[in-house]
Amino acid sequence: MGNHNIFIGKETTTFKNIFDMYYKGLCLFAQSYSLEMEQAEDIVQDVFVKICEKNVAFTSKSSLKSYLYQAVKNNITNTFRKQEVHRKFKDWIRNKPEEEKIFFQTMIEEDSYRILFQAIDKLPDRPREVILLSLEGMKNQEIADFLSISLNTVRTHKAKALKLLKNHLGHLNPMIFVLLFILPE
């Protein structure tokens, strides 16, 4: 099941890959709509099941992302709608422009962190540990004390982490426009 292919423009990736990239980030996004984590996870799982069932193809990475976040949001509004049907729904329609703005703001914040966390998770153990502590606000000396390593080692790990992080981020390409090609069989 996990090897099921998903088409994104001219690229093909597996369902599992997309799950790994987005699952946690989407859960946090859903949770920011004042949901319990358990509820948030259920909603995100529903979305993944649906993608697999429907065999949806995407024109680009950005359209995949748009689908995921919109689908999670729609599922949340559906849940709200069922709970407090009519009155709330009407308010919602009236506040639609405002609601849309909040959606994009939340998505941008949560997704930025998701991208950062993803990049960090790809780092080797020690550099990752050091950069995480540094991002949490620790000074180099504090990190050295905390991990019982020398100040120089902290600096080396940090430099390595930043280099790898930048290298990874430099290869992220949200701007790619989809080139379409069919290979003769």
């Binding site: 996990g2 099941v49 697999c52 429907k54 193809a57 992302k65 703001q105 930025s112 991208i115 981020l169």
Partner: protein, 403 residues
């Protein structure tokens, strides 16, 4: 300036923080920042990574391996996948190469049916592809060409179709597509809400496809018949060819013609399939029931009851959409608003269900803006429309005070 694709912003923000953003990305980011103060604050907040550890802890505490197992359990309980590319390929070759395997082609069409259903869903349901423009889907269902963006040479190389100058048109040239086995055999043209698109098929048949509709057709028609599949609405002007009947399949109904002009409306959300004949003659078939139409006649298939009725109509009422206007003759608001919703890509909500029963006679032009069209209805009725980018809420005017 073009509307910002907000889904690209997060990547750019993080890249910018780590000095990896390109020039064009920075200009897109600046454009977004200029949009509002909130955006600037948001950018600052992420840059400072204020609640970093809190977020990181939450992120790490999510047990995605358990979730992954749950999803797989749920998926394994369902029939999957709908599309089996391998079967599809084998059957395709079998059908072409071996005469006794003609039976296989029947199976092949059953697979086709499933596949087309997913495509139909793409247009008519919540539109997961979020298509903004008419889009051509090549045979395997995974390659999509946006017809507003696509380079004319690329399109011709991939499909053999040419873009015609002027109003949203493409044309397949029989000479080009006939002997080129590299072209995929089937194409599907999907027209999203708020769009209309013209197409000339390789036999010279002209089709105008209405909003929220799709047409699947072979790039080149084989020797026995000309078979296409429709969801939604289209106006056909079928090129005459006595030896090759032109057959339209839609929602389980077949419409068979030799050469003629007619309109078919078969939206999944409507209860009827309506075929209106302008010129020539057509045969409508459902199961074993057959009905032949004369010019000016209309066949209505009631989907729930599975029955067909025939009547004489003013055909203009049913074909005027292709000229950018709708003519109504005693049609209720619900049906009028359905069409308007497809025109302007908005969802319609009723504050008062009774409003649906207003009946209309007259002509509506397709203005650039929805509010101009709705204003005309407002003038004629006691109704009020609350319009947002994606919705219209219909209310009674004087009811507001009572609330």
């Amino acid at each position: 300036m073009k509307k910002i694709d907000y889904f690209k912003i997060p990547d750019i923000i993080i890249k910018k923080i780590y000095q990896q953003a390109s020039q064009s990305e920075i200009s897109l980011l600046n454009h977004w920042l200029d949009e509002s103060k909130e955006n600037q604050e948001l950018f600052k907040r992420i840059g400072e990574r204020k609640d970093f550890s809190k977020r990181r802890n939450k992120y790490s505490s999510i047990k995605d391996d358990i979730a992954w197992q749950k999803i797989n359990t749920r998926l394994s309980q369902q029939p999957f996948p709908k599309i089996i590319p391998l079967y599809y390929k084998i059957l395709r070759y079998a059908a072409v190469l071996l005469a006794p395997f003609i039976i296989a082609s029947v199976v092949y069409y059953i697979y086709e049916e499933t596949r087309e259903y997913t495509l139909a869903e793409m247009v008519q349901e919540s539109n997961p592809l979020d298509l903004q423009e008419a889009t051509l889907v090549l045979e395997d269902g995974s390659r999509l060409l946006n017809l507003m963006d696509v380079n004319a040479d690329t399109l011709q190389k991939l499909t053999g179709a040419k873009i015609l100058p002027g109003n949203n048109s493409i044309r397949y040239d029989q000479k080009i597509v006939r002997n080129n086995s590299l072209f995929p055999k089937l194409n599907t043209l999907i027209v999203p809400k708020a769009r209309v698109h013209n197409i000339v098929l390789s036999d010279g048949t002209k089709v105008t496809i209405n909003a929220a509709s799709s047409l699947q057709y072979p790039v080149f028609f084989n020797d026995e018949s000309r078979l296409v599949k429709l969801t939604g609405e289209a106006y056909f002007n079928v090129a005459k060819d006595k030896n090759k009947p032109f057959i339209i399949t839609t929602n389980g109904m077949n419409i068979e013609v030799l050469g003629t002009e007619f309109n078919v409306s078969s939206y999944g959300t409507d209860n009827e399939i309506v075929t209106t004949l302008i010129e020539g003659s057509v045969k409508v078939k459902v199961g074993t029931t057959e009905m032949t139409l004369q010019p000016g006649e209309q066949a209505i298939l009631f989907k729930k009851k599975d029955t067909i009725a025939k009547k004489m109509v003013n055909t203009e009422l049913f074909t005027s959409w292709k000229d950018g206007r709708y003519i109504f003759e005693y049609e209720n608001l619900e049906s009028v608003m359905k069409k308007i919703g497809r025109w302007y890509n908005v969802e319609i909500f009723y504050d008062d269900e009774q409003a649906k029963q207003y009946h209309f006679k007259g002509t509506l032009n397709k203005y650039d803006e929805i509010k101009n069209t709705l204003y005309i209805i407002e003038l004629a009725t006691n109704l009020e429309f609350e319009i947002t980018k994606t919705t219209v809420l219909i209310k009674q005017k004087n009811r507001k005070k009572i609330q």
